[in-house]
């Protein structure tokens, strides 16, 4: 028995530089994620006093953004429609909630129900009135965006015609702020955050695990095959539009109670919703939630860092997300060419 093993077949160990290069080339995604996570952690530790405020205020103020983005992402992923009028679903949710809250004296949490249901019903109505006829007439992708843009304009200026430009407010009793990490946060914001997390988790579970969720995904994958399998496409599509509307309406009510209710409420958030969905959407609903919350933290962090210049932080965040979108699309198109 010889210990002499012939090693000529085995590849020689490549030099270190080549190994590092291969490591970088073969696992760009994971390494990038770790580097980004470590960088973020280092930033949080280095600027703890700023990061603490950014985390608390950003999560508390912009949590509804994540909820609205989840609704928009559902609609976009499952029906393929980029619905600009989704902004007005958010606005109308805020108006429905405020109406029940101020006119009928309902508690804020109770008025969330009519806000969400009203926006959901409105979303279904827009589907039957405009998007279904447009789909049946084979309206193109760009034309569909323009159509929803027109609908958004009609709803937004319609609200302005009826309610005027002025800002309206929910009637809520003053509550002592809750202290988190040494910072006072209004309780509504905390509930908003909790509600967003709960709502997003329920939606995620619903789409991934339940029978209806499977039907929804089947319909999005292949409409004809889904029909053959006994899925009622109409009922499932209506359900998608209703859920998206509910998510948008609840987000609008949370935005409304946090600040004010005005016709431009949804439109002022639409660009951020769209960016969160496009950047996070490649990794499913979880990615959308992370992108929405991350955007809120970044917005408030930059606003604090640039000393109250909110406009600059908005410009920087929009630029950053568009750059991410561009870089990732470049990589995707490289892969698609192969």
């Amino acid at each position: 028995m010889s210990l002499d093993i012939d090693r000529t077949d085995e590849a020689p160990v490549p030099p270190l530089g080549k190994r590092v290069q291969e490591l970088l080339e073969t696992r760009p995604g994971r390494i990038g994620v770790w580097v980004a996570a470590l960088g973020a952690l280092a930033l949080v530790v280095a600027f703890w006093s700023l990061a603490r405020k950014a985390l608390i205020f950003g999560l508390a103020e912009e949590a509804p953004l994540a909820l609205a983005a989840v609704g928009f992402a559902l609609l976009y992923r499952l029906t393929g429609i980029i619905n600009v009028a989704y902004a007005e679903t958010v606005t109308l949710g805020a108006y429905f909630g405020m109406w029940f809250n101020t006119t009928f004296g309902w508690n804020f949490y109770l008025s969330l129900i009519p806000a969400a249901l009203g926006a959901g019903v409105l979303s279904v109505i827009t589907y039957f009135a405009f998007f279904r006829p447009a789909h049946n007439r084979n309206v193109g992708v760009v034309e569909m965006i323009i159509l929803s843009f027109g609908l958004s304009i009609v709803l937004r200026y319609g609200l302005q015609l009826i309610f005027g430009h002025e800002q309206r407010y929910f009637k809520v009793p003053f509550q002592n702020p809750i202290r988190i990490l040494g910072l006072g946060v209004p309780p509504f914001r905390v509930t908003a955050l909790a509600g967003v997390v709960a709502g997003a988790l329920i939606l995620y579970w619903f789409i991934q695990k339940t029978r209806l969720g499977i039907q929804i995904r089947a319909l999005a994958g292949d409409e004809k095959l889904a029909q053959v399998s006994g899925i009622n496409p109409m009922a499932v599509t209506v359900l998608i539009w209703f859920i998206a509307g509910v998510a948008g309406g609840a987000a609008g009510a949370f935005y409304g109670v946090g600040a004010s209710v005005r016709p431009l409420l949804g439109w002022s958030k639409f660009l951020y919703i769209l960016l969160a969905v496009l950047v996070g959407g490649a990794r499913g609903l979880r990615g959308v939630i992370v992108a929405g919350l991350g955007m809120g933290v970044l917005l408030s962090g930059l606003t604090l860092a640039i000393k109250g210049q909110g406009l600059y932080s908005e410009i920087l965040v929009v630029l950053l997300f568009i750059i991410i979108l561009k870089l990732r699309r470049n990589r995707m198109s490289e892969a698609a060419k192969v």
Binding site: Y76, I82, V84, F130, P133, A134, R137, V139, V141, V142, E143, I145, I146, L147, F149, G150, L151, S152, I153, V154, Y157, G158, Q160, L161, L271, L274, L275, L278, Q309, L311, Y312, E314, I315, V318, L319, I322, L325, K326, R329, N330, S333
Partner: protein, 319 residues
């Protein structure tokens, strides 16, 4: 010759309609032919307007240039700046799908609006800035000056329309249509689709900037309220109304929308005076938005339908 019958408002309305035709005609090249859905028209329009104003007012031009020298140099700079912005945005969006194009162009318009508000030292912030009219040395009075700029705008729009008509008859136009209809096919045939879209987008943006700069000159005042979403909507509804794939579509459509509403409804219909300030501008946007929906659902080729389709499109369809 007396021009008393021309009210100042009528001149201004005609000027707005002419400018909207120009924007819609440029959008026709970008969206109707090459299929780039530009939702940030007002961003390039506003950048041109503000760039002209900032160069004209904030740069200490040497006296030797005179009023007209500094005016023309500022105008050239405005066109260059908007063209460069178009090149940058075009590079971002040229290989993205409809959603990416929407977010890129809409984001650009939002950033321009925010910059107009925040850079008070240059733009005057929310109050805006007054800009000089190079015609002021002639002492013509307000109305003849407005008429002069109306003439300039009409000449500019005629020039753009002539260029669009030439594009329709040229190999370049066929390339644009190929890129807009089926981009992978055009690329597989060896056409440089990315470069084509990029250059077209930059040229269109430079044109929009020029239209915006002339708007600023005519208005004598540049404010953020001038660069709202209404500008994008007016150009888009005009183009869609007239048919986004034909040379005369933008002209017919804008005359039927902005022309009808801003001139016929606002001047000749007996409306209560209290409506003009608040109600009419809002009703205008509602009507435009509704027209956009109705036309896309029932007359996707525009009000003219497929009546006398352009020869080029017919030939492509049969061949």
């Amino acid at each position: 010759m007396s021009i008393d019958w021309l009210s100042a408002y009528l001149i201004y309305a005609l000027f707005t309609v002419a400018g909207t035709v120009g924007l819609a005609q440029l959008l026709h090249l970008q969206m109707g032919l090459a299929g780039i859905g530009n939702f940030g028209i007002v961003g390039f329009f506003g950048l041109g307007m503000y760039a002209w104003g900032v160069f004209q007012v904030r740069i200490p031009w040497p006296d030797a240039l005179g009023d007209w020298g500094s005016f023309f140099l500022s105008l050239v700079m405005a066109v260059i700046v908007s063209g460069l912005a178009g090149l940058l945005i075009g590079w971002v969006i040229a290989d993205l799908e409809g959603d990416g194009v929407l977010v890129g162009t809409l984001g650009f318009a939002t950033i321009m609006y925010s910059l107009a508000l925040s850079e008070k030292r240059w733009t005057g912030g929310a109050e805006g800035m007054a800009v000089p009219d190079p015609l002021r040395t002639f002492n013509w009075g307000v109305k003849p000056m407005s008429l002069f700029w109306l003439g300039v705008m009409i000449l500019l729009v005629v020039g753009i329309t002539y260029y669009v008509a030439r594009v329709h008859r040229s190999p370049y136009g066929r390339l644009l249509i190929a890129v807009g209809q089926n981009e992978p096919l055009a690329r597989s045939l060896g056409k440089p689709t990315f470069r084509t879209k990029l250059i077209l987008f930059a040229l269109g943006s430079a044109g929009m900037g020029l239209v915006g700069a002339v708007f600023g000159v005519m208005n004598h005042f540049i404010r953020p309220t001038e660069i709202g979403i209404e500008v994008t909507l007016a150009a888009m509804v005009g183009l869609v109304m007239g048919g986004s794939a034909r040379v005369w579509g933008a002209i017919v459509g804008v005359l039927l929308t902005a022309g009808l509403f801003d001139i016929v409804v606002q001047i000749y219909l007996p409306l209560p005076d209290s409506w003009y300030q608040i109600t009419l501008p809002v009703v205008r946007e509602i009507v435009f938005g509704a027209m956009l929906i109705l036309v896309l659902l029932w007359r996707p080729l525009g009000v003219l339908g497929d009546m006398r389709r352009d020869k080029l499109v017919e030939r492509l369809g049969s061949g």
